[in-house]
Symmetry: C2
Subunit: 432 residues, 2 copies
């Protein structure tokens, strides 16, 4: 048995506390799996006096994170503080002094992954971040390693548990967004300030990380088209339900038809109830990966929470520990493909549109003409109600988002269209 | 760029042909991901003249596999012949001469994994075998690496596409086993001799591999309790359907309640239609992993087929190629926990039992008494029909399989029980 590998933990909140607990409870298993004991030698926190979920020897606590990450005896630095600073500086300092790094920090990797990955490469340091996307679900390692011999075409997933909980609640109980959000907050699934979740920032960061790995290119949070779920109404949900669809907040990373660029976007979309993602309930996450040879794969599990996220962190700790013993490191960031990230307008999707129209002869012909002018082909159309209540409900075939948006704009300008009552993208229903 | 890594392929059937195609079609991507070109330098086949799915330079073909695997210039040997011999001897020879090995051979690993893993260790050789279980689905790497910091409690999965296709067809169309099997054969989902699939041998080999990895113990095919699906009738399927269940052939690897042993079994079982595995249709595979911290994870995808299996093989080729360049190797077999594999009688499950009984007062009391004597507690019971057609349908709570079997035996001996009309285990429905 080799000498102990020493771990410094940055942050001791919901995830950090579970990391501490698991390192202790699984001590002998971890030692057997790594080939050396893992020893927690320091925990950097802002408030040492604060009550925590895990019992921690007070002697391990420190407020001096800078010194901890460069301590001579530390082998592995585990960062679960989150946010950009001081996490970035601490990770860079750790790598510069030869430590291996495990992080769960999606915001940092999505905003400034380039800096972090470059530092890893320059310092020959290991950088593992499985916990940054989809919590306990093994997703980055399979994408980065198991699928390294395949060509990923599309990643389509539910990667934010809070919004999935809210949308699932709206779907199952008919609740409004506000009521569902309040319930999610009461149950601890949503934060007091839910902006990062409900506006799609969290999902967008994860989408950037997923896209970068899946397409071997550099993708940042700023490249991601992002729409949240705050404007989804109970009526939208009911209308989707009536048509056999459910509304989910999706993260979609897709190669363009010519293979030369990728689109990365987060927005609510209707998916058919028969689609496996439709059955993802409550705060669960699930990610579909479509690859040329492997076909469609799905990964499902708990996307957040202390213990599930800590499970992913521990898996990474074991990996970097094994690498240190073998004097090697895991795969570096791979961005060789360097695909262009195209704007939302170039992404291809489908659209569900409800129009309040005057019930007059020729209305459908004139509406259809607008779609045709924008080269958007209509898959289904049906008329509901009569007279003043007449509504046209259309679902398009695949078209560029720019063409779809332009079509909607033109529809709004038509005198026979009283209002565009609803517009929602449709995904996961690949009728060509 | 480093000098090319040279690959020898053993076998060029359904999977091998796709490996050849993908190595050619993805040449530049693979080189970029590995950091060196991958070059196919030889393909061992039995019949060089045979028509194949992939175009292969005839100069690469050889019938002399023994010489190919020890050729000085070969770095990586990819074995997709299947079966025990000559695959085993060739893999051992390859390792002895310093090659890295990628194999899809579940039968060999399940029957004699000890020999193969020992040879890998003694020769310092890499051994990757993702394709041996669940085709394209990344499963072994996540279990072996991503979950290395967690404690797996149970693995529950559909790992044989042929039997899932047959059972799904029986469920959706009411077909008999024989008719569904014939359809599967006509569509190429089942072989002319379907024994390995329908008798559960294929699933048992995969269960042994999964259990060994998940529980860090040595598990062989002989340790696996195995029952096939040949005796499932259309009536069984219909009766399960009426109760809101579906019959699936499951591979179950579960830690005992005291954590000291594992049970590994393959048998048909009823699962509730609300269970995610119930929605796995046609020839798809899906595996549930339950771990202490991660909770429930599911992996879903194509479990067989040339291209999907080749995707997993290529992922492993990239991994061993990277390892060779970095002069390191992947994680060794981990059997430190050395858990006892307990016999089926010690496995804990639930049972659905239909009894043809005489419709007399006191029947239920006497039947219930038999369950109680064997310490098996009844969850639900209902009586169907009256008079000569009376049937008692019972579902038990969790009990050892030995107690359940003994209960059934005692029921068969009762004068008031005309026949035990149906017995089926129930899984995936954890009412305690």
């Amino acid at each position: 048995m080799t000498k102990p590998l020493k771990i410094a933990l940055l942050g001791c909140g919901v995830v950090g506390s579970q990391v501490v607990r698991l390192l202790r409870e699984q001590e002998s298993d971890l030692a057997a799996r790594v080939g050396a004991p893992l020893e927690l030698v320091g925990v950097a926190v802002r408030k040492p006096g604060r009550k925590r979920d895990a019992e921690i020897d007070p002697a391990l606590l420190t407020t001096d994170a800078e010194s901890l990450v460069t301590r001579d005896d530390v082998d592995i630095v585990v960062e679960v503080i989150g946010g950009i600073e001081p996490a970035r500086s601490l990770i860079l300092a750790a790598m510069a002094s030869g430590k291996s790094v495990v992080t769960a920090n999606k915001a940092l990797l999505a905003e400034d992954g380039a800096t972090i990955h470059r530092a890893a490469r320059e310092n020959g340091a290991d950088l593992y971040f499985e916990a940054s996307v989809a919590g306990a679900i093994p997703l980055l390692r399979p994408l980065r390693e198991s699928m390294a011999g395949d060509r990923v075409q599309r990643v389509l997933g539910i990667v934010n548990g809070t919004t999935n909980y809210i949308l699932d609640k709206m779907d199952s109980s008919g609740a409004s967004f506000t009521d569902a959000l309040e319930e999610a907050q009461a149950l601890g699934y949503a934060e007091a300030d839910p902006t990062a979740d409900v506006e799609g920032f969290d999902a967008a960061a994860k989408a950037a990380i997923l896209a970068g790995i899946a397409f071997h290119s550099r993708v940042t949070a700023a490249d991601v088209h992002r729409e949240g779920i705050t404007e989804i109404t109970a009526a939208d949900v009911a209308s989707a339900k009536a048509m056999g669809y459910v509304i989910k907040l999706l993260a979609i990373c897709a190669r363009s038809d010519d293979g030369r660029s990728v689109g990365v976007r987060v927005h609510p979309a209707m998916i058919p109830r028969s689609h496996p993602l439709a059955g993802v309930r409550e705060a669960y996450n699930a990610v579909f990966v479509e690859a040329e040879s492997a076909g469609r794969l799905m990964f499902y599990g708990a996307g957040a929470g202390g213990a599930p996220t800590a499970s992913a962190v521990l898996g990474d700790i074991v990996a970097v520990a094994r690498n240190r013993i073998a004097n090697t490191r895991g795969p570096e960031e791979s961005t060789y493909a360097d695909l262009r990230v195209h704007p939302m307008g170039e992404s291809v999707t489908r659209c569900h549109v409800s129009l309040d129209v005057a019930d007059k002869p020729g209305v459908l012909a004139r509406v259809a003409d607008i779609f045709a002018k924008h080269d958007v082909s209509i898959q289904t159309v049906r008329q509901e109600g009569r007279g003043d209540d007449a509504q046209l409900v259309l679902v398009t075939h695949r078209a560029s988002d720019a063409a779809l948006s332009a079509t909607i704009e033109s529809l709004r300008e038509m005198d026979i269209v009283r209002a565009v009552a609803g517009v929602m993208r449709v995904e996961g229903d690949e009728t060509p």
